[in-house]
Symmetry: D2
Subunit: 376 residues, 4 copies
Amino acid sequence: MTTDVRSEGPVRIQMADGPGQPPATPELAKLYREFESELLVPLWTEIGDLMPADPRSRAAAHRWRWDRLRDMAGQAGNLVPVGRGGERRAIALANPGLGGRPFATPTLWAAIQYLNPGEDAPVHRHSQHAFRFVIEGEGVWTVVNGDPVSMRRGDFLPQAGWAWHGHHNLSETPMAWIDGLDIPFQYQTDATFFEFGPDEVPTRQAPHRSKSERLWGHAGLRPLTHMAPSPASPLLAYRWENTDRALHDQLALEKDGYPATLEPGHAAVRFTNPTTGSDVLPTIRAEFHRLAPGTASSGSREVGSSVYTVFEGQGRVNVGSAFWDVERGDLFVVPSWQELRLESENGMDLFRFSDTPIFERLDLGRHRAIIEETQA
Amino acid sequence: MTTDVRSEGPVRIQMADGPGQPPATPELAKLYREFESELLVPLWTEIGDLMPADPRSRAAAHRWRWDRLRDMAGQAGNLVPVGRGGERRAIALANPGLGGRPFATPTLWAAIQYLNPGEDAPVHRHSQHAFRFVIEGEGVWTVVNGDPVSMRRGDFLPQAGWAWHGHHNLSETPMAWIDGLDIPFQYQTDATFFEFGPDEVPTRQAPHRSKSERLWGHAGLRPLTHMAPSPASPLLAYRWENTDRALHDQLALEKDGYPATLEPGHAAVRFTNPTTGSDVLPTIRAEFHRLAPGTASSGSREVGSSVYTVFEGQGRVNVGSAFWDVERGDLFVVPSWQELRLESENGMDLFRFSDTPIFERLDLGRHRAIIEETQA
Amino acid sequence: MTTDVRSEGPVRIQMADGPGQPPATPELAKLYREFESELLVPLWTEIGDLMPADPRSRAAAHRWRWDRLRDMAGQAGNLVPVGRGGERRAIALANPGLGGRPFATPTLWAAIQYLNPGEDAPVHRHSQHAFRFVIEGEGVWTVVNGDPVSMRRGDFLPQAGWAWHGHHNLSETPMAWIDGLDIPFQYQTDATFFEFGPDEVPTRQAPHRSKSERLWGHAGLRPLTHMAPSPASPLLAYRWENTDRALHDQLALEKDGYPATLEPGHAAVRFTNPTTGSDVLPTIRAEFHRLAPGTASSGSREVGSSVYTVFEGQGRVNVGSAFWDVERGDLFVVPSWQELRLESENGMDLFRFSDTPIFERLDLGRHRAIIEETQA
Amino acid sequence: MTTDVRSEGPVRIQMADGPGQPPATPELAKLYREFESELLVPLWTEIGDLMPADPRSRAAAHRWRWDRLRDMAGQAGNLVPVGRGGERRAIALANPGLGGRPFATPTLWAAIQYLNPGEDAPVHRHSQHAFRFVIEGEGVWTVVNGDPVSMRRGDFLPQAGWAWHGHHNLSETPMAWIDGLDIPFQYQTDATFFEFGPDEVPTRQAPHRSKSERLWGHAGLRPLTHMAPSPASPLLAYRWENTDRALHDQLALEKDGYPATLEPGHAAVRFTNPTTGSDVLPTIRAEFHRLAPGTASSGSREVGSSVYTVFEGQGRVNVGSAFWDVERGDLFVVPSWQELRLESENGMDLFRFSDTPIFERLDLGRHRAIIEETQA
């Protein structure tokens, strides 16, 4: 390695040795300085980082504890007002590998949001696709394009980009939930639009079922007024009762000898857009997984990153070289192509979201099941 | 019109007069005889029939009375055994314009099927897409690819082409239901395959919910084991309770001022394939319509033919120049491009199926709402 | 077989014996008479015809001789005027199995069209998809939506349904060509619309290349003004020079050891819509096949029917149980699911069109290569 | 703005004032420190940067001069060997806003590559989609999956991800060309795979036309052996002669009064995948634009970033607030949502590539034509 003088501009090229590197001569140093002044960078010094044999994410596998998140959010509830400008009392996971930015993964945002009794999170809209998922509590209604949607434990609430939305807490107690969005993806690729709406949500109605559920919440039945495919799901709430029943049915079918689970003891459903049968949001996949007591998943890797949260139960998680015990509410991140294994002695329910649709839609998806090697 | 000698072969060309017709000379007669012997037919004598300004179906608008169908089916139940060879005790609607063939429309088959207590309709499979719809009664299980599916009033049960299926009646009373298939379409276009299976259905199990419902009957939730789109719906039963609730919700939303119905007082849902969000079968559209009391639909026409059956209530139907009073169980046919109007004083529920997916998938679909003209 | 009294109405049910048939009792006869008066037909008497083990087309394998067609067309050129009402001097192949109708197959129309020097075939449009294919001659321009397109030997000229079109012969000699349309399909399914335009084509311009070719005739290059997919090809002429070169290239690649031909000695291209890469017309597939000298194709069957015409050379054709020697211009029909084999001692070029897209788009397609069985 | 103590870990939260910010109290400072230690970041301090009203790219509009690039590449040709490890003698544009990384835009890589007579760039493959575009020179063959493809001035040569490829220079002179890839996109999203092949290209054959062109280079004609859609174009060379002719035809059609150009005097074609009719590569759009002499384009913006290179002629470019004179070979970058205007007194041809398919496939695309405001 030859030391060289630092350039003034943004580009800085270091000589390297190793296979495929040119001899470190004064002429080369001079050429590199010219490259820098012309805003040029050679491939041969960068290829190892840029084009590895398989994805080497800068993002780290990491776990956040729910009790700490919940506590932080409660403190923010006392110190931080919610209103126009800050828009949301949301606190985001910052992956330790991503430079302190509020990015759970290179593409995904995950945050805890907190709303005190009587508060309004003001109305706005943005190109980012979003969802809410409720670990615990209730009392908040999100109002999406004028339709008030209740939020209760276990509910998954997707929201298409560019839909107007605000929230208000009609209960007597604070409520916290998890927000997922594709903010890092749209930020990195410069696709983001944002617009302010009214400071207060347009209705104080608090129906048990939203209009969207009355119109779309009937399996396999579509209203004739809405037959065009829509990029994101028009169903604004996927209720826990249904998810729970679907997972229960899969495990019961498995007991009956019928192929219904992803692997023995491992039930899983994907939230889908009823107008297309595919992912609920164009850039975000959302799923619910249930491990029956005594189940260990096989290992798998895939292109793209995921965030998991434990909805109920306890278990042990292995991501790449990291191992954690996890329990209700804990969140953890699986970077691209890192191997994931889950196990639980007494059973565990997990909510997962990922950026996989981005890769599948661009024909860049890969998935690999890890076959266990056993010794004789 | 010139009389001419009949040819020996299958082709026979008649001279005509009128716009665009050649002068009826002996030379022309001789040429037409040569055409006949060469198996040739001119366009100019046929164009008026073949290429009308808009569809002029040979099929007629027609209504069949449920009480008569039910009675015929009962008599057949006494006289006609069900078993291998005849395969099904099914009695089909024969449109009076279609030459006595068992074709409700040029593309669709509609029949009443009848099964006595303890009987088995033997297992077979065919390329034709099919469904069952239950006007009244219960007690029969259809077993599709080994999965027993109960049949109850109001249920819609689609079945993809090439699925093995048989039926058996486990109750103490006969049961009748409606079969819909695309037999005429596949027959006319030479696409039909058929294979015999066992003489008896492979299981006597009679569960309340089929495996398919346990796997697929959860709105917006897909099992991770089955993520590829399938041409036809994997959900084998669309239960009346859900359909009824969806229609009820639409009318309630309409009352709340929210756009949910097809037109005022007219709720409608389409049965869809949860893996694609589109029609439940590749060649057959199926829908349920509810007219609130005092509702008259606006007129409309579309390319393709439909069969309707009254599920509940009474009303008045106008198809082209035909007018009928209809009540529970009555079936009627709407030929392509004929105008349809429905009205009901006390409310009416209708099940409809049609061949519209054929035209939509081939970019041949057209639909026209009839705007009422009012005079000052 | 029991004789029974003929009914008055269109339906007539005959008692049958055989497997699955009910005992021929007076009660059954009475029931059948009631069926007839109610416009009902049982499945059990019809199933053998309606639902065979595999497609049994009423259409027959048949060949028409080009010299006879050409001669008939010439005679019609003398006797039959072309103009409004008759619209086209076109003479259609009438399959001997299809009741004397001008249907080459149950779905396809094939005709020879003939235009004298100076004549105009008047402008009209129709929902039927159409193409022209030129066996020999030139001098006619077809004007499609105002764009004049020359027609020369070997050219394939597709035309989307509902495009305005007329033809005129600007040369000093008559010209004949082949028309292909989906008239029988749209007729049988009641999808047909038709509208008259002006009696004369809107332009006498006779450019060598049409506007459509100037805009669309550049492989892989799309004008930015036209990026939406269109159901049918916007390219109005596929010139023989290109087709010939593509076939030549495939055989040359085969010689170079590169997999390019359908089977040894058998080159084949499909005409496609550049906006989608799929079939050139929504209901019609069009292809060109070249057998190198000494080539015998393997046998194959597929769902759907085809019409072939020999463009150049000679050969021997086997369709089901029919065998013909064929030469330039001869046309022959391959009904659904009948086995086809082609061979040629000195080489043969064939143009083919079929209704396969109908079945593929409806998930009804099946294809089977016939593996030769050899004896030891 | 309150100064606060720097945290130890990767996260660092600064207090801010302004709309929606909480009062800067010691309690808040303490909470922020806790956030940092828990790897959490609030939305309210970040939202202005993360969710702007419209895309605010960190990438800058910038132009690189071809003569400088060409000169640098030539120097590298003397000093830098090409071979295994460094893989390619490629020198990438480093956008001044992107931290000195070799990223022309947040998603796109653009480089000049240089090969001396007799040299081989070794075989490898990668998940990144790539293309080559030739400003000047010839003599290099790229061998893609064993198929040698010549490279000549004006040619566009796409190459699907995961195709094996190497290059060799069979001429007596060095050759330089432009490489475009989606390296930054796949790097940022962790989708990248890479594999080494042989050190030398597998063939020294140097045909004028590649096998891919012989198989796929016939407008609208597909080989029957290859009817499945492929994610990227199977045609490995889009030759300048065809592109030139297509652009010429558009301008000639415009003169004839036929709508063919993007706007008056501005012809444009998109390179497309003949198996789908859509973009030539799943993540990269490629186009050629021609401004007739005296043409000024209207302004437009779109989501996503582009790189342009001047192929011929001269002109003036305006991107956002930047203005440049450009000539043959110059490259410039248009960041997302920045307005672009082009004009040329004597005519100018431009090659363009962009990441637009990423956004269109994810339903995130937006485009806006800028309507000129004129003063009275």
